[in-house]
């Protein structure tokens, strides 16, 4: 296994945040509506992990270092893990484990529908993230995992529809997401490494 310490570091980091939030909750630092706060943080955490995952390929192209790609899968799986926890906290703290109400929400609320679709997408990617699936799916694997761009769009839409009045935070994450997608447009992607490459030779 290459870069074992880097992988371990990211694993610890992924565990650290929810543990820190649990500690904060247990010591009354999250206020009276801690379930909602932890749910929001998990959702935002999943989005941030997704954005970090999507920046690995551009970073690899920019720097030429292969370590970025090595940790990409784990980062994506953290995004999935946070979304699973996000949904559990939603069921427990918002719906009070009322599954009938969950059925109603799934039919009636666009932001829940969009969020659920994004979850299903992440689930498909998580289930096929192992080497066995990569071998079995062959060329189709790459195609399937392009789904991540759709998931990012759905996630951002889900986030947008929760905003009540101030778009600042959303605008920041959406522009980072847009930039990461832009870097994948072939025309742009071809130019980026060339720019870095030239500078690299000059130094």
């Amino acid at each position: 296994m290459r870069y074992p310490w880097l992988r371990l570091g990211i694993f610890v980091l992924g565990c650290l945040f929810p543990c820190w939030w649990l500690y904060q909750a247990a010591t009354n630092q999250l206020g009276p509506d801690l379930g909602k706060i932890i749910m929001d943080r998990l959702g935002l955490g999943a989005l941030i992990f997704l954005l970090i995952t999507l920046s690995m390929t551009p970073l690899q192209r920019l720097t030429g270092w292969s370590g970025w790609i090595v940790i990409r899968r784990q980062l994506g799986l953290w995004s999935f893990a946070y979304i699973v926890l996000h949904m559990i906290t939603y069921m427990v703290f918002i719906l009070g484990l009322d599954w009938g109400q969950f059925g109603v929400e799934l039919r009636k609320r666009p932001y829940i529908i969009v969020g659920a679709l994004a979850f299903l997408g992440l689930l498909a990617l998580a289930l096929t993230s192992n080497r066995y699936s990569q071998r079995r799916l062959g060329a189709r694997w790459k195609k399937l995992h392009k789904l991540v761009y759709v998931i990012l769009g759905l996630g951002l839409l889900h986030f947008l529809w929760i905003v009540r009045s101030d778009l600042k935070a959303w605008a920041i994450y959406a522009s980072i997401g847009a930039l990461l997608l832009l870097l994948r447009v072939p025309l742009v992607a071809r130019r980026v490494p060339r720019l870095i490459g030239r500078r690299g030779r000059a130094v």
Partner: protein, 337 residues
């Protein structure tokens, strides 16, 4: 003048022992830690001291407030079998977008708000319009403690002991003309001390505006509050003067009021202008009419713990149906949400 409200949703002062036990237990715990358990108990038992609630941060009450506090009718309206939300939670989990959109922003940023001196304009369709210094405005009224449920449109709720006086009394003083059919309230606009009013990403048109129908404002439940938990209002809770209409979603209970206008036409309110499909003029608590983005059938009664999520059914008119349902007997509440 005293307004006595005794309705089925109320209970007698003698029935509130569970809260008393709850509060004195907390006070005793805190006090015994400080080694002053014996000294602290009598004050709690008598229940007439400003420190009647546990863990209340003392404020810097203006002179007029201290003068009025002595004659307060404590427990004028109470709630049945419900624990009062801890002071810390009621003052550190707030929506007051003028100070930021996070729940902790108002507590962090509202310290800069200067509430003394404060002037209030009463104008429009009234026989006695005027600009009042706050202490003059509140002078005629006896303070009452009203313990009300507060239901936020975001599906969380609290139980808060307010100190205030009925809006109906104020209306009698200023004498609405025959043309007056609605009240329009306005919050302070001061971007220098209100960072939320400086945000270029905010979708809200400042100042914050709210409104009531005249008969709603005359309902004995509607009050103007100047205090909570036996002290003056903390800035983040809408100091120095705010509206409380407990059968409506929290955003109707406008904070830091600088202007009350009696008007002939239904005023356009801030949230109505921002998202008319989500927030109506009436905004009565109604478990059968959902917010388009989330259900209103249930609510999180705060504090809601990590291992004890406190999710409960939302009551029609927030449980105040006996007092207010008659106001809406000829209104389709589905259309007029």
């Amino acid at each position: 003048m005293l307004i006595k409200i005794a309705r089925p949703s109320d209970c007698k002062a003698s029935d509130i022992t569970p809260e008393g036990i709850y509060l004195s237990r907390r006070t005793m715990l805190g006090a015994s830690l400080a080694g002053a358990a014996v000294a602290a108990l009598p004050g709690v038992a008598l229940g007439a001291e400003p420190s009647r609630y546990a863990d209340v941060e003392p404020g810097a009450a203006p002179g007029w407030f201290k003068d009025k506090l002595g004659a307060t009718r404590w427990g004028a309206v109470t709630v049945e079998n419900e624990a009062i939300t801890p002071f810390k939670d009621a003052t550190h989990y707030n929506n007051f977008y003028e100070f930021g959109t996070d729940k902790g922003d108002p507590a962090a940023n509202a310290g800069s708000l200067k509430t003394e001196p404060w002037s209030l304009v009463v104008d429009g369709e009234v026989a006695k319009p005027g600009r009042y210094a706050l202490e003059d405005f509140v002078k005629p009224y006896q303070l009452e403690e009203r313990i009300y449920r507060l239901r936020c449109v975001e599906a969380w709720s609290m139980v808060i002991p307010w100190l205030g006086f009925s809006l109906a009394q104020v209306l009698k003083q200023v004498e609405p003309t025959s043309k007056a059919r609605y009240l329009r309230f306005e919050t302070l606009q001061d971007p220098k001390v209100m960072p939320g009013q400086r945000s270029s990403f905010a979708l809200i048109d400042w100042p914050y505006v709210e409104g009531l129908r005249l008969d709603e404002a005359m309902n004995p439940l509607a009050i103007l509050a100047v205090g909570m938990y036996g002290r003056e209002l903390p800035n983040q809770n809408g100091a120095p003067l705010r509206l409380i209409v407990p059968w409506k979603y929290g955003f109707k209970s406008i904070k830091s009021i600088v202007r009350i206008s009696l008007v002939a036409e239904q005023p356009q309110t801030t949230w109505e202008r921002l998202a008319p499909t989500e927030y109506g003029f009436y905004a009565n608590v109604n478990p059968t009419v959902d917010h388009p983005r989330w259900t209103q059938a249930r609510e999180r009664r705060l504090p809601s713990g990590l291992f004890s999520p406190n999710v409960r059914d939302t009551l029609m008119f927030n449980g105040y149906g006996d007092e207010v349902a008659s106001l809406y007997s000829d209104l389709d509440l589905r259309k007029n949400y």
